[in-house]
């Protein structure tokens, strides 16, 4: 969602025309004294600071009109507050640090030795906000109802009031995050009544089941806030007095809808929003007022997708590994970060491990960081070794035909468009003809999923836990792709159609174990192939910029106290943050 927000805006181009200068004198905000990192104890979600009546205004990326929908099973239009603020998971994983998850409705979890059984101990004494007690049956229901049941789950059983045992047919270590960290727990006594709800799907056909239910009236959850009012411009929430972590210190929240990034930036400069995560080319303009704290948490790599595998139907010169290697050497990542991503992006690792968090997974001998400068000479020698020759125009080719690659990016995603232009120029330096074009978002989606492209600027979803496994499996193995012309299916992100038996085998092996040494060995094989075969050409790790009001509120996740991934739209860690934020008493 936020991606469209950040770059789908053709208005951001216009933003460059207005120079918003802050009149306020620049003194950086004295941040409140936060307590140290959590030890994972029972009090982890308790609020900090003083109670405050000041309404906390949040922009989580919603655009107007807002439709009241707090059903976590409706991914298309569920509002941000529902995922974390109303409905909570068992644990909240910290996306930016290698540390144990924060216990929410779960307290402890334990795998059996072969990974086919996961036992979770639940928090006791928790109440739904309608006064009903939260039980192990609610957890079982949240995993076994028709809408939510994951295919890999064999069974979930409440072995006693505070224990749930999940069982699987084969080792499911790799789904730990999906089970514990991203499945929201819903009340059986409310949701079971709506399983037969009737609605209409988009074509006007009958639709029944939980997805048809908007859950717009007083949603019942365990989270720190309860819905108060809704309208098509904003919705408000009030503190849940019976919250298990203690009543939140901020009495009320207001989530507003904003249609353009420029408006959100203006509202920040004038101090009208308290928490927002969005792309701001010059964050100093906002932080110089001293009201806001600012934290950039890059997580998602930006890459060039290449349709790499001729055996699965890819067409174009990029199916030759030498061409991909040459292009990889020809890009000047430093310049791309500086000019296309205004210097806010981070260095990417060609192993797709998130630097700083996943360092331990980078195998010996692998380059931790991608080269930040272009090496045209090396690119040329790779091409010459592969039998390419330079033509009269200075472009490499074979049999008299110069290599020509089309590099597309979605129209209006300005940072992608600029990166593509830069790569076009950088490739020319190295004798590679790359033509940058823009396409509509719809065409972009279509090309990625069908494989009918040569090069695309695109994103890789960073993993939610300190382990690159999910990227290796979902983005680079043969089981997670289709032949060109067939749309990728459920959970398949291997746009490059990369399919290497050694990689497939190593990833499968890593998925069967929780043994770090075995995993490292497997990852070494994967990384060696990814670095050598470059199915994607890594560029940068994209910025995620969060601004939060430190003048009136305390308890935010900050660089000094990084207890959670900070974005206002993040599901479900925003709920953890909401439970902890309090007033500064000023």
């Amino acid at each position: 969602m936020i991606r469209g927000k950040i770059r789908g805006r053709w208005l951001t181009a216009a933003a460059a025309l207005t120079s918003v200068t802050l009149l306020a004198a620049g003194c950086s905000g004295a941040s409140e004294g936060n307590e140290g990192p959590e030890d994972g104890g029972g009090s982890s979600a308790s609020a900090e600071g003083a109670a405050t009546e000041r309404e906390l205004v949040i922009w989580a990326g919603s655009q107007t009109p807002i439709t009241a929908n707090f059903n976590p099973y409706n991914p298309a239009s569920v509002l941000h507050l529902a995922n974390g603020g109303i409905y909570e998971p068992l644990f909240v994983y910290n996306k930016i640090a290698d540390e144990p998850p924060t216990p929410m409705l779960g307290l402890e979890s334990e795998w059996n030795a072969d990974g086919t059984e996961l036992t979770v101990t639940l928090r006791e004494g928790v109440q739904w906000n309608d006064g009903e007690p939260f039980t192990a049956d609610d957890v079982v229901y949240s995993f076994t109802n028709d809408t939510a049941k994951p295919p890999y789950l064999e069974d979930a059983v409440a072995s006693d009031d505070a224990t749930v045992v999940f069982s699987f047919d084969d080792p499911q270590f790799t789904n730990e995050f999906a089970i514990l960290g991203s499945t929201l727990i819903v009340p059986e006594h409310v949701f079971a009544e709506h399983e037969k709800d009737k609605g209409e799907d988009v074509d006007g056909n009958a639709l029944s089941g939980l997805v048809a239910w908007p859950n717009a009236e007083a949603p019942v959850g365990t989270g720190p806030y309860m819905v108060d009012t809704t309208s098509d411009a904003a919705y408000t929430a009030k503190a849940n007095p019976t919250y298990w972590g203690g009543e939140p210190k901020v009495a009320s929240l207001r989530y507003i809808g904003i249609d353009s990034n420029q408006s959100a930036e203006d509202l920040l400069t004038t101090g009208q929003i308290d928490w927002a995560t969005m792309f701001v080319p010059q964050p100093d303009r906002i932080t110089s007022s001293g009201v806001y704290g600012y934290w950039n948490t890059p997580k998602d790599p930006t890459v060039l997708y290449t349709c790499a595998n001729a055996d699965r139907g890819c067409e174009g010169e990029q199916t030759d590994v030498a061409v991909r290697q040459a292009l990889n050497l020809a890009v000047d990542r430093g310049a791309i970060d500086e000019k296309a991503f205004v210097g806010l992006a981070e260095t990417v690792s060609p192993t797709y491990a998130l630097l700083g968090r996943d360092d331990k997974w980078i195998a010996e001998g692998m380059p931790a960081e991608a080269a930040q400068t272009a090496d045209a000479a090396a690119a040329a020698s790779v091409l010459e070794d592969a039998g390419y020759t330079k033509d009269a125009d200075g472009f490499y080719g074979k049999d008299g035909a110069a290599i020509e690659l089309t590099l597309a990016s979605p129209d209006g995603w300005t940072d992608y468009n600029n990166a593509a232009k830069l790569i076009e120029e950088q490739a020319r330096e190295a004798g590679l003809k790359v033509v940058a074009t823009t396409i509509s978002e719809a065409e972009y989606g279509d090309q990625r999923f069908s494989g009918k492209f040569e090069l695309l600027v695109g994103g890789v979803v960073g993993t939610s836990i300190a382990d690159p496994y999910q990227i290796y499996r979902d983005w680079f193995t043969g089981d997670f792709t289709q032949d060109v012309g067939t749309q990728l299916g459920s959970g398949e992100w291997n746009f490059s159609r990369y399919d290497d038996p050694e990689v497939n085998e190593a990833v499968a092996k890593a998925g069967q174990t929780n043994d770090e040494a075995v995993k490292k060995e497997a990852y070494a094989v994967v990384q060696e192939h990814l670095v050598e075969d470059v199915p994607f050409i890594p560029l940068v790790v994209n910025a995620t910029q969060t601004f939060y009001n430190t003048k009136d509120y305390a308890g935010w996740p900050t660089e000094e106290n990084p207890y959670a991934f900070p974005p206002a739209w993040e599901n479900p860690s925003s709920g953890l943050v909401l439970g902890k934020v309090g007033g500064t008493g000023q």
Partner: protein, 331 residues
Amino acid sequence: MTFYLRRLAFYAITLWAAISLNFLIPRMLPGDPFTILLAKLQRSGGVTPSVENSIRLLLGAVEDQTLWEQYVHYWGNLVRGDLGVSVTQFPTPVTELIAGALPWTIGLVGTATVISFVLGIGLGAFAGWKRGTWVDSLIPSTTMMQSLPYFWVALLLIFVFSVTLGWFPIIGAYDVFEFNGPEWSWAFVGSVLYHAFLPALTIVISSVGGWLLGMRNMMVATLSEDYITTAEAKGLRPRRIFMTYATRNAAMPSLAGFGVSLGFVVAGSLVMEQVFTYPGVGKLMIQAVRNNDYALMQGVFLVITVAVLAALFIMDLIYGFIDPRTRSNNG
């Protein structure tokens, strides 16, 4: 009478063609709502199979029907006044979304269009009357304002009046930080007027120049007509010549243009609504096109098409009435 019947038949056929195109065009767009939605969700974290399953349920199974069956289904729904359900705003019916947006659009864009028409015609008539004097300098300055990119004017006004001076709000049709939704109170009405000022101003600034220039030129042409000379020779008061003889005749072509503009009012003002986060139809259209939200797209286009055709039809009737020349083709 045949004139009116001919016009009526013409509009009926146009309406049928427009509605059919409205059905076809969205279906010829590349991509499908599923992949677009999936790509968006992908941005905010992992997409689990159960989430994908939910999306598939919501989006229905389009492939099962032939295009013809869909077309018949579409007409059936249309006749019943059912425009379907929006994907992006699930489960709100499209009719409800449009009904929510129309009053704001008509209120703001409509008022602004009327203001800029009246202002443009008035100033244009005056400039034509006083041609060759200092008043002529109005023309280059207003046409320049019109040639400025609209979003730039809007952003500039926001920067100066909302951000730097803090006189006006930055977003919304009313104070979204204060009111929990529309309500009937003087405070709310005041808030609506206060929030409408800047958006209306940008529309007036960017459209008044066109009316002014057209009117001024027509006025100059009209003033050289023989009947004006006759009127002057008869010794009529200049005021009477200005109002009754010159302005009334010179305004005729502008009036036709005004009719079309009024029809397009319901399309909203895409950029204004985006820049000011103002509720309106234009924004629904942008969202629908971005997300391949067919139902919403068709609903919005339908409303716009019908409104424009209705405006043209009414203008036709009025024109046939006030200007008999348009009724016969043997003149």
